[in-house]
């Protein structure tokens, strides 16, 4: 390399390194990474965790948040929380749905069925509607920054959304730091981009009763609901990773076979140019 090239490359790299330092902006702390059963190439959802998360959703989140892309039937589908069909039917029957009207013009109410979508939130807000949570685990994330995002490609870190939600649910601070004023009704959350979040702290210890002996703490609730939301956003994750592994084995074997075939085919070319099959002059590109 000449000196010119070295100088130019040095300039380029120093600029690239200096740029982020000079362009500092307001930043939230990075959400801590959790251990998730569904992470990695062989990840599977923890059925018990999804069932606990579903309970948190039913008893807490459903007050304000809809999940309008999910139906009760999804609860009994493979790769999900692992409810039996009867259990899912029983869950559906807890909710009332209106269907048609009777002779007097009064709406007919019936119990929910497997085919019904999850119920709309119980509380209606006059102005801003809290976001639907069906794909929220994929619709949230945080920037890991260079060079971490490069490593994430190899380590398959894909849990930005769930880690963010888990952190957010535990990120409330009763007393905002000095100098921070919040709009009326807002709470301070260190992980929320503007820090002023309209949702009051939704979880508190012992708010949801767990029957499997898991700790009834905000931390556990936050993890369980996040895992449940990940399943809701990516219900075919287990099938995807399972099929992916099979595809990988197939492709690696195929590539190996093709490599050795290629070596074999090219073997003669690389040693004996004269042993190539002669071809008619018309098959060569015309000289220009």
């Amino acid at each position: 390399m000449t000196t010119i090239t070295r100088a130019i490359l040095a300039l380029v790299f120093s600029a690239a390194v200096a740029a982020p330092a000079l362009a500092q902006e307001h930043e939230n702390p990075l959400p801590p990474k959790n251990k998730w059963s569904f992470a990695g190439p062989f990840g599977k959802y923890d059925r018990a965790q999804l069932q606990r998360g579903f309970k948190v959703y039913q008893e807490v989140c459903l007050q304000c948040h809809g999940m309008q892309l999910l139906s009760f039937r999804n609860l009994a589908e493979p790769g999900g929380p692992g409810f039996t069909q009867a259990q899912a039917e029983a869950v559906a029957a807890q909710y009332k749905y209106q269907e048609g009207v009777d002779d007097a013009g009064k709406p007919i109410e019936r119990e929910g069925r497997l085919a019904d979508l999850f119920p709309p939130p119980l509380v209606k807000f006059p102005t801003a509607t809290p976001p639907d949570m069906s794909v929220i685990a994929k619709g949230r994330g945080y920037e890991r920054g260079f060079p971490w995002w490069v490593f994430d490609m190899f380590t398959q870190y894909q849990e930005h959304g769930v880690d963010y939600i888990t952190a957010l649910l535990q990120g409330y601070e009763a007393n905002p730091p000095a100098g921070v004023t919040l709009p009326p009704g807002a709470s301070y959350n260190k992980y929320f981009p503007s820090n002023a979040i309209a949702m009051p702290p939704p979880l508190s210890d012992k708010r949801v009763e767990y029957t499997d002996g898991s700790p009834q703490t905000v931390e556990q609730y936050a993890k369980d609901i996040s895992a449940f939301l990940m399943w809701a956003a990516e219900p075919h994750l287990e099938a995807r990773k399972r099929i992916g592994f099979q595809v990988f084995i197939f492709l690696i074997v195929l590539a190996g076979l093709l490599y050795f075939t290629k070596k074999n085919v090219w073997h003669t070319v690389e040693l004996h140019p004269s042993k190539l099959e002669p071809r008619a002059p018309s098959e060569y590109p015309k000289k220009t």
Binding site: L11, V12, A16, Q158, A255, E283, Y284, P285, K286, T288
Partner: protein, 422 residues
């Protein structure tokens, strides 16, 4: 496609067909006996990979279109329905969305290869220009496809990119209204993007046909950049190129599968899983990664009209490359100075991509301006001047000589010693 076909049909039906429609002969002369330089390296396999990716995108796209609803009220949910309720819909959609990224990755490698080895030079100018047209068509198709899921990034990308046309003096605003089909990005916009997103891949397929036709007219360039002269300089397309292409395609598919099955949302933006909301602007509007270098060039220039002009120029200038590069030597192997400027150019392009993902403020803007300047200086000053002043290394007498070393009788009919391998 050059010369008379040597195809000799054996079977009675094929003989009958060949006298009426010589399609088997065309395939035979184009993809079986077609001579390719024997020294092609693996960078030459990306043309085949690109053809394969176009096929993947068209097939998955047609099936996705069977389940998709192009309406602002239903588009987002119809994509989610594909992900949830259509059999293997998640696979189709992840293959299609990541396939676009793989398509661009392969296209960029293909282009950098063409630039490194001077594949655009006489007599391959038209071949190269058709390639630039393909890039432009891909950019348009990819952009419109990104709008279809109607998430936040879809909507705002559509708004930002179409609004670029408002920079055109006098007619700008009218053009934008015409593109939108209304006074805001809305249902007519989504409908026409859907229609064009379905149409353009077939236009791409047509131009790919021309690209291959032009390629077969002039023959492939090669890492040494000297034309094949004798029989020993080339090998038959089948089996030599086909098996080499197949092997690298399989390796490429491993990379593709890694994204599809393990990190399918890595290249996307989380905001696109939030339904489009015209009343709420996302904090950072970023395009897909494959547009980031162009986006960085756009934002590096403080004046809107000039920024749009620079964005357009950064693509159009590629079409003039055959005449901007004045060197008679094709391959960077024999151009020591060019090779260095080329690698700086690659670093600058990747750097622009990184800057395009950053907010346009502070030092990012300054670095983006330096890189943008290099991007254009490379084409307008460095390449023309370099061709005149650079001392190139001596070219090999032939491809055979380059592969096997000197002393091998060129076009010899007698077997050469096995130790002649270079």
């Amino acid at each position: 496609m050059t010369g008379h076909s040597t195809y000799q049909p054996q079977n009675a039906f094929m003989k009958w067909l060949e006298r009426r429609l010589p399609i088997a002969g065309l395939v035979y002369s184009s993809f079986v006996v077609y001579p390719v330089p024997r020294n092609l390296n693996y960078w030459w396999t990306f043309g085949g990979i690109l053809s394969f990716m176009l096929g993947v995108q068209i097939i998955t796209g047609i099936v996705l279109a069977m389940h998709y609803t192009p309406h602002v009220d239903f588009a987002f949910n119809s994509v989610e329905q594909i992900m949830r309720d259509v059999n293997y819909g998640w696979l189709l959609r992840y293959v299609h969305s990541n396939g676009a990224s793989m398509f661009f990755l392969a296209a960029y490698i293909h282009m950098f290869r063409g630039m490194y080895y001077g594949s655009y030079k006489e007599p391959r100018e038209v071949l190269w220009i058709l390639g630039v047209m393909l890039l432009l068509l891909m950019i348009m198709t990819g952009f419109m496809g990104y709008v279809l899921p109607w998430g936040q990034m879809s909507f705002w990308a559509a708004k930002v990119i179409t609004s670029l046309f408002s920079a055109i003096p006098l007619f700008g605003e009218s053009i934008v209204t015409w593109l939108w089909g209304g006074y805001a990005v809305g249902n007519p916009t989504l409908n026409r993007f859907y229609s064009l997103h379905y149409l353009l891949p077939f236009v791409i397929a047509g131009v790919v046909g021309l690209h291959i036709w032009a390629l077969h007219m002039v023959g492939q360039n090669n890492p040494d950049g000297v034309e094949p002269k004798t029989e020993t300089d080339t090998v038959a397309f089948t089996p030599y190129a086909t098996i080499k292409d197949s092997f690298l395609l399989a390796v490429f598919l491993i990379l593709f599968a890694w994204f599809v099955f393990y990190i399918p949302n890595f290249l996307g933006h989380p905001d696109n899983y939030i339904p489009a909301n015209p009343a709420q602007t996302p904090p950072h509007i970023v395009p897909e990664w494959y547009y980031l270098p162009f986006y960085a060039i756009l934002r590096a220039i403080p004046n809107k009209l000039l920024g749009v002009a620079a964005l357009g120029a950064s693509i159009v200038i590629l079409a003039f490359l055959p005449w901007l590069d004045t060197s008679k030597v094709r391959s960077a192997r024999y151009r020591p100075l060019y090779r260095q400027f080329f690698w700086i150019f690659v670093v600058v392009c990747v750097g622009l991509g990184w800057l395009g993902s950053k907010p346009p403020e502070g030092a990012y803007v300054i670095v983006a301006r330096v890189f943008t300047a290099y991007y254009f200086i490379y084409f307008v000053i460095i390449l023309p001047v370099l061709g005149l002043v650079e001392k190139t290394r001596p070219l090999p007498g032939s491809i055979t000589e380059s592969v096997l070393g000197k002393g091998v009788p060129i076009g010899a009919s007698a077997p050469t010693s096995s130790g002649a391998k270079a």
